[in-house]
Structures are given as C-alpha cells and as structure tokens.
C-alpha cells in the first residue's frame, strides 16, 4: 500500500512495530516475563508453575498494556499479541497454552470478536488433541452493541482487564480450572462498559486515521479497534458525556440500589490523565446519584486504541469474593500492588 503520509509515530519498519515493541517490553521487564519471538508470545518468567491453573489471553495489538503488560504474578501467564487490531493465529495460542500449562489446565480469556473467537476455538481444539485441558470464556461487556441470537453479539472491552486481574488472583490462590473459568464468567456477567471517542487513531500500517471526526463532535459507543461508534453526536460537556456513559452502563447492569461497584475509567490512549481524573470525579458522583457505590476504582489507560482520544467506563458489581480477589497482590508491568 502506498504510504503518502508520514505518521506522527516512533516507528522503524511499520511491519515490525509489534515485534519490536514486544522486544522492548521484555527488555524492560525481564524480571517478570520473556518474549518468545519464534512463537510470537509473551510468557511469564516462571511459567509453567506446577499445579497452578494458567491464564492465557490475546488479541490484536494496539490495545497496550492489554495483554502483554498484564503478564506476571497474579494475572496472566501468557499473552498472544496479533498484528495491530488483528486477532492472533491459533499457533500462537497453542504455543502459549503449552508454555504455561502446569498440569492443572489453562483458561483462555477471549474477547468477543469473530476473529478472536474462531482463532481461540481452533487453538483450544488443538490443545485438547495434545491432552491439555482448556476452558475458554468469552468476554462481552460492551453495552453499546445490541445483543441478539442473530448477531455477533456484544464486544469484549474493559471487563477483560478486570477479569484477567480477578481470575488471575483466583488461580494464584489455587482455584481449580472450573473455578477460575467461572470467576472470569462471573466478572463478565457482572460488568458493563461503554466507550466514546474524540478522535480516530492512526494504525501504523496505513499511517492514516480510520475515520474523520469533525470538530465539536463525538463518537458514542465505540469499541477498541478504532472503528466508529454507534452514532455521532455534538460534543457536550464532560458532565453530559458522563451522563450518557453512566446511563448506558447502569441501565443495563440493573444493580440493586446500594450495590458496591468497581468503577473503571479507561483512557483510549490519547487522553491525558488530567481529563481522566476529571471524568472520574464526574463518574464517582453520578454513580452515587444512580444508587451504586464505587468502593474500588481504576483510572488510567489500560485497554486502548493506539493514540485515540477517548474514554470508556466499565462498572463491575462487586461481591465479597470479587473484592478480595481484586485486592489480592498483583505484579505485572502495568498493574502492581501488594508486592
């Protein structure tokens, strides 16, 4: 493809951007993980750990720190990064599954995109042929997408981060394959997300924005692949934008009044922290007004769309077990506490 534009990016050959970034991740965090260049996977340094259920996730690149930045203690055991915005291939998932299986089985955390689902499905079949027990759980928390029997269903977005952390803690505590898979499912069932964009991102390969958003407009109901959202609207104040996000999430979550929740305000990559915390202030206030209590929170750019300006809100309805697992120690490049 003829590249007329020179994107505002730090790149060598755009075709190598994922590989080079993974090499840099491993150079920076060699105490936690390694990069298997041949298999194109990121693996926890001390994997496989005998008797521990292992967690593998993966998907297109461009969502960093998802997933490679979540490999370490108490979260993922391996990540399979595809090309930018392109699902990885089954070979990667199979290699990762083999690399981390400690005999107790492997949970695949799969975001609900046709490509991810199909590729992970093939890998799980291959792994079963090799005698590895695999439990796959699909994440589909994006309320911007209508769910029906006849469609591809909802996308997997912010809940993925929470599921990886919480189920990772369950595995660390010695939970069984079924229990860890069930924990992922519970997080997915109790979490809802909604995202908005103020600009397109620019994929390294094309060097061009995916869409043009006129000044003063906002895309409502975006995913994490730079795609346009469900609809375009006039950009209102931060308070008005948060009204839309909270309403979308809360109306679908149907949480009981007084429920304790984790509120996750996520930046899409190009939104500065100054604005993310401003949004969190609005979210915190409006969730309380809507009758739920944010007792835990996460604010930052954890599941991104390259340099897209935008944000998403994920609300997870907690219970004692999920809260305890959220609080449990984690040590990865992107999330760390308790160690």
């Amino acid at each position: 493809m003829a590249i007329q534009t020179k994107p505002r990016k730090f790149l060598n050959d755009p075709a190598d951007v994922v590989k080079e970034s993974l090499a840099g991740l491993a150079a920076a965090h060699g105490d936690l993980l390694r990069y298997d260049r041949a298999a194109q996977i990121i693996v926890c340094k001390d994997a496989p750990r005998a008797g521990k259920v292992a967690l593998v996730s993966g998907g297109g690149s461009g969502h960093e720190p998802l997933h490679g930045g979540f490999v370490g203690r108490g979260m993922l055991d391996a990540a399979c990064p595809g090309e930018v915005f392109t699902s990885p291939v089954p070979d990667q998932m199979l290699a990762a599954t083999k690399a981390v299986d400690g005999g107790a089985g492997v949970v695949h955390i799969v975001k609900n995109y046709t490509g991810d689902v199909l590729n992970f499905k093939m890998a799980a079949e291959d792994a079963a042929d090799d005698g590895i027990r695999v439990a796959s759980v699909v994440i589909d928390d994006d309320v911007a997408v209508q769910d029906s029997l006849y469609t591809a269903g909802r996308r997997g977005v912010g809940a993925t981060v929470l599921a990886e952390k919480i189920a990772g803690a369950a595995a660390e505590k010695g939970a069984s394959l079924d229990k860890v898979a069930d924990t992922v499912k519970r997080v997915n069932e109790r979490a809802r997300s909604f995202g908005v964009a103020l600009s397109s991102c620019v994929p390294p390969a094309s060097g061009k924005p995916i869409f043009e958003l006129p000044e003063g407009e906002i895309e409502l109901g975006i995913g994490i692949h730079g795609e346009p959202g469900r609809r375009r609207a006039a950009l209102g104040s931060a308070s008005e934008v948060v009204d839309v996000m909270v309403e979308a999430v809360i109306s679908d979550l149907k949480a009981r009044a007084g429920s304790q929740v984790l509120a996750f305000v996520n930046g899409m990559g190009g939104t500065p922290q100054l604005e993310l915390y401003l949004l969190y202030g609005e979210v915190d206030r409006k969730l309380r007004a809507a009758g739920v209590v944010p007792v835990r929170n996460l604010v930052g750019s954890y599941i991104t769309s390259l340099e897209m300006a935008g944000a998403s809100l994920t609300v997870l309805q907690l219970d004692d077990e999920l809260t305890e697992l959220w609080d449990a120690p984690v040590h990865t490049p992107a999330l760390r506490w308790g160690v």
């Binding site: 990885p88 291939v89 089954p90 469609t151 390969a205 795609e227 469900r230």
Partner: protein, 210 residues
C-alpha cells in the same frame, strides 16, 4: 484441472489482493477495523510461499496446505474462515491428481459449508457468504447444465461479483460491521469483495490451465 491449477489460483489471488489492498483496507476501515487488505495480502503471500516448497503434492493436499497456512498467518475473522474453507475443500479431493468441473463444485460447496458452519452466517448477513454462496450455486447450476468449465466459472465469478454488490444496502448482522448497526448500511462488505476477487482469480487460473 490439477495441482498447477491450484498453485496458479493461489498466485492469482495473491496478485489480486495485493493490487486491491488499499481498497480492501478502505472498505474495512469504513465498517470494520481497516485490516482486511493487509490480512489477505499477508495470508496469500504466505500461501504462495508455502506452496512453492511443495511441488509434488496433489491438488487436494495443496488446498489443505493453503488452508493451514491461512489459519497460521492471517488471524482476524478471515483467517480461520478461509483457512477452514480451503482445508474442507481440499479434503474432498483426497489424493487424486486431477479434478473436473463437478468435483470443483463439490470442493467449493464444502468450502462454503465450512464457512457457514464456523461463522454461522447466512446470505443477507453482509459477509463473504453473500458472495460465496451465489458463486457456488451458479457454478453448480451451469456445470449441471453441461456448460463448459470456462463458461461455468465466468458465471460463478459474475455471481460472486453481484453478491458482493448486494451487500451494499444490507445492515450487517455478523462480524465487526454488525457493531455499527444501521451505520453499516451503504457500504460494501470487504470480505465479500475479496471473495469475489478470489472466484475471479479461480476463473483466470482455470482458463490458464486449459
């Protein structure tokens, strides 16, 4: 038709998707994530490369190898879908050295069945099925009517192209475009577009080997 037909077909596809890469990317950027052109180019470059290492195999084996290579190199939705399709198609031919028109119909019918099984899409969902299903139907009908292979493949390619265009007014129900809801209307499906290119490439490959 024989192994060379398959090799030529794959080479024709590679040339075609490489030439049309930008357009496939743009179609996918409008209602997907903008990678369909690079996905197909990467995949068929790998297929051509893999096939060039295997000069002796019969056509069915070559299709299976092509399918495996797509699965291992594309990712995305199109990788497993086309990968399974070619693998299923190849299995129909077993180890036979040549195949005729009716057998080609069986190959493509198996490929279509595999796509539909894996992707759960029907005609009208705005996917590659909208191009592949009419192509297989046209090929089956014309071959059944005793048309020449050249005529039958011309009919199949034309049907694929008509199917491709038929996706424009549709609202997507499968794949990424479905996330856009009504905003997917008015755009041509990238996967249906590359499918039409692939059937057209088959028509050229068969013409070359006859």
């Amino acid at each position: 038709m024989d192994a060379t037909t398959v090799t030529t077909w794959m080479r024709e596809i590679e040339t075609s998707v490489t030439q049309e890469r930008d357009r496939l990317v743009q179609l996918d950027a409008a209602i997907g994530d903008g990678d369909h052109g690079t996905n197909m180019t990467r995949g068929f470059a790998a297929v051509v490369q893999a096939l060039s290492q295997d000069q002796e195999a019969p056509p069915g084996r070559l299709l299976i190898l092509a399918g495996r290579t797509l699965v291992s190199s594309v990712g995305g939705a199109s990788g497993p879908l086309w990968g399974s399709a070619l693998r299923s198609g190849g299995r129909v031919l077993g180890d036979q050295a040549t195949f005729d028109g009716p057998q080609l119909v069986e190959v493509l019918a198996a490929a279509l069945a595999s796509v539909k099984d894996l992707g759960a899409a029907s005609v009208g969902d705005k996917t590659m099925v909208d191009a592949l299903e009419p192509a297989v139907a046209a090929l089956g009908r014309t071959v059944g009517e005793g048309a020449s292979l050249a005529d039958a493949l011309e009919a199949a390619a034309a049907a694929a192209e008509a199917g491709m265009r038929s996706t424009i007014p549709l609202q997507a129900r499968k794949g990424r475009a479905s996330y856009l809801g009504e905003r997917s209307i008015g755009h041509q499906d990238p996967g249906a577009t590359s499918t039409a290119l692939m059937i057209r490439a088959l028509q050229r490959a068969a013409a070359a080997s006859s």
